[in-house]
């Protein structure tokens, strides 16, 4: 079980594609990657969840942590293409109200 992050640049818009599982074993990878991203770029962050197969409370927790950092720069995190089982978790935990959820 692992996580891979692909960065896609399109018209000055950076999208991070999460591939695999974001959980207690992999959350540090996202934390480090996004922290570096925020240091280098002052822009909104787009997350593509199409290939995200699993997320747990640690995965959600790390997204909240990086959202706080992004918000400090008056930017947002946009999350799209989540699988229904993962989208359900965002709604159950009210995190859909914190992130910009896109279809």
């Amino acid at each position: 079980m692992s996580l891979k992050i692909e960065e896609i640049k399109n018209d000055n818009k950076h999208t991070l594609k999460l591939i695999g599982e974001l959980d207690i074993e992999t959350y540090k990878l996202v934390e480090n990657y996004v922290s570096k991203f925020i240091e280098e770029k002052e822009e909104d962050l787009f997350v593509d969840g199409e290939s995200l197969d699993f997320i747990d409370s640690m995965g959600l927790g790390v997204l909240i942590t990086v959202l706080k950092k992004v918000n400090e720069k008056n930017k947002d995190i946009y999350i799209s293409n989540l699988k229904p089982s993962i989208k359900k978790l965002f709604f159950l935990t009210n995190l859909d109200k914190l992130f910009k959820m896109e279809e």
Binding site: D23, E25, D56, L60, L92
Partner: protein, 140 residues
């Protein structure tokens, strides 16, 4: 409400074995006629519960995590607790400060309580020692 079967699983108190618990839970739920959404609910709840107990025991490798599935026709009861091993080994505590953050915030508890039909969390000295949960099968 006749009890059909019991499955017991014991894993070391290490996140490296969480996937075994999750996949076993998914397999048991699938074998007993739960639909895809219910299987997702059960496997994530088992993952979160095991993880929570591991963290509350400070990843003490002197303990194993026992997961017991009581399978009925219309429901599944799952009991997860830590059990001491006979041998004495050293205690490993790693990155607990970061890891416990999400649990202090109660995110995992919120997830389990949202996904399962009934959840009982037992604590001793403020630490979670046992989680019992129940999931009814949707009516066909």
């Amino acid at each position: 409400m006749k009890k059909k079967e019991i499955v017991k699983l014991s894993i070391p108190n290490s996140i490296n074995y969480l996937s075994i618990a999750r996949l076993s839970a998914a397999s048991i739920a699938a074998e007993n006629g739960y639909d895809v959404e219910e299987i997702d609910d059960i496997k994530l709840s088992v993952w979160e519960a095991c993880n929570s107990i591991m963290i509350n025991s400070n990843n003490n490798i002197n303990e194993n995590i026992t997961i017991k599935f009581n399978i009925y026709d219309e429901k599944i009861k799952i009991k997860i607790k830590s059990t001491k091993k006979e041998t004495v080994n050293k205690i490993i505590i790693d990155e607990m400060v970061d890891i416990t953050k999400a649990f202090e915030d109660g995110l995992n508890k919120m997830i389990i309580e949202s996904l399962m039909d009934k959840v009982i969390i037992d604590k001793k000295d403020g630490k979670i020692t046992e989680i019992k949960m129940l999931k009814f099968k949707k009516e066909q």
